[in-house]
């Protein structure tokens, strides 16, 4: 399936990732992506697409190609060093029961 000659892929509006803060005090959360010609346009589109029912009080958009992500293939080697450091968790330490909640 090739795109028709009249709409080469280069003419596609670039892809943006959308992050929405649902209310003051909470973090912005990734909620999806959309195509838009520039950042202002992406903001307007994000408002129309992702906040039609007051789902947000603040929106971030950023170009999808600006994201650097860890490799899924290196899941094990990348995250593994944390697995054998169980002393980083509070449950590693035994405290006498009479001490109560700590």
């Amino acid at each position: 399936m090739n795109p028709p000659a009249s709409t080469p892929a280069l003419k596609e509006w670039p892809l943006w990732e959308v992050f929405v803060r649902s209310k003051q005090g909470l973090e912005h959360k990734h909620c999806g992506s959309l195509h838009a010609s520039d950042a202002q346009h992406a903001l307007q589109m994000a408002r129309d697409v992702y906040t039609r029912r007051q789902e947000g009080v603040s929106i971030w958009v950023l170009p999808s190609n600006a994201i650097t992500a860890s490799e899924p293939d290196s899941k094990d080697s990348f995250f593994d060093p944390a697995a054998d450091k169980i002393y980083r968790h509070p449950t590693f330490y035994e405290i006498p029961e009479k001490v109560g909640h700590m």
């Binding site: 399936m1 795109p3 892929a9 003419k11 596609e12 010609s37 039609r52 992500a69």
Partner: protein, 340 residues
């Protein structure tokens, strides 16, 4: 919002979907084993994870067909925006049609994470290669059709979509959660519009019954062919893309709808519709699958009209898309100059 339980091949895709090909190398076999283990554990697959080709192809086909259905589905209802009987109904209908556009976008975005571009998908729709829900190839003849689309078509779609929220592919499942949250409004506004009409004149009541008569069987067909004739369903179930079989979903829909029809005061046009005490379900009559396939294959009353309208809108919007890009490029050049 509307999916049809598509185990339906797109125009040229038939040969491409030979389920899982034999793994080529030891490395592929290991990846396949890992993938199978994730699926067996009811885990999620994310865009950059390894996945079998067949899984990717099935998802691209199903999600893009689903997205196309949302977009084409805007047309029959959009026809009634200018003729809605009151300002209230007009505002509701505009909001609903806007939602459908949004649902299309969530789904296109989910499909794009699988490496298919938006342009490729639109080309598939516009060239007639890709399918969309056959229900939109029927005309909306009177105002009650708009209510019936909300009540029955969206009602059937919800039955299909709720299990998709648990689909094994993360982006599709997340899109469906968003869609389902918005969907309940669609069904309720349709049912309520019909309730109002049923309190009206004899002609208005007759319009509702007429719309129900025309849409009922087509809604049952939306769940897709019977399980026995859906060979792709088994693979979809194995992959955690499909969770409940076509026939089971159809039965759930019938069981849920019969009491709603009673409250509304309409008759569902099926003489075989009977409560089956032994099964604790409603029995229903034979669906005309020949008609279903004729419409899926392009020969419904509105296939050509829908596609023509869609292509025309896309072509006539080309200058807007190009102008927006030209504007963005100009702004960027200006900003660079000012910074220099």
């Amino acid at each position: 919002m509307y999916t049809q339980s598509f185990s339906v091949a797109d125009g040229e895709a038939k040969s491409g979907l030979k389920a899982v090909a034999a793994p080529a190398s030891a490395e592929d076999a290991a990846l396949q084993t890992h993938f199978d283990a994730v699926i067996d554990a009811d885990g999620k697959i994310e865009p950059r994870d390894w996945m079998p080709d067949g899984y990717r192809k099935t998802l691209v086909r199903q999600i893009s067909q689903h997205a196309h259905s949302e977009i084409v589905g805007m047309l029959p209802e959009g026809n009634w925006i200018s003729r809605a009987p009151s300002l209230k109904r007009k505002a509701i209908l505009i909001a609903k049609v806007q939602d459908e556009g949004g649902h299309g976008l969530y789904l296109y975005s989910a499909a794009e994470t699988l490496g298919t571009s938006r342009d490729q998908m639109l080309d598939g729709l516009h060239s007639g290669k890709a399918k969309y829900s056959s229900i939109f190839n029927y005309p909306t003849l009177n105002w009650a059709d708009v209510g019936v689309i909300g009540w029955l078509v969206d009602g059937a779609a919800i039955m299909n979509q709720i299990p998709l929220c648990r689909c094994s592919y993360g982006p599709y499942a997340r899109a469906m959660i968003r869609v389902c949250k918005e969907e309940s409004f669609h069904q309720r506004q349709g049912y309520e519009a019909l309730l109002v009409m049923m309190q009206g004149t004899a002609e208005q009541k007759a319009m509702v019954q007429d719309a129900v008569n025309r849409y009922w069987w087509k809604c049952l067909a939306m769940f897709g062919p019977p399980d026995a004739d859906s060979p792709n369903s088994v693979q979809g179930m194995r992959w955690g893309i499909k969770r409940i079989s076509n026939d089971d979903l159809r039965q759930k829909f019938v069981d849920a709808t019969v009491p709603q029809a009673e409250v509304l005061g309409v008759t569902l046009p099926d003489p075989d519709l009977k409560w089956n005490e032994a099964r604790s379900h409603w029995d229903y009559g034979q669906i005309d699958w020949d008609e279903f396939w004729a419409v899926v294959n392009g020969n419904g009353p509105c296939n050509k009209e829908r596609l023509t309208t869609r292509v025309k809108a896309h072509e006539q919007g080309a200058w807007v898309r190009e102008a927006a890009m030209a504007h963005a490029a100009k702004q960027q050049a200006r900003n660079l100059k000012e910074a220099a």
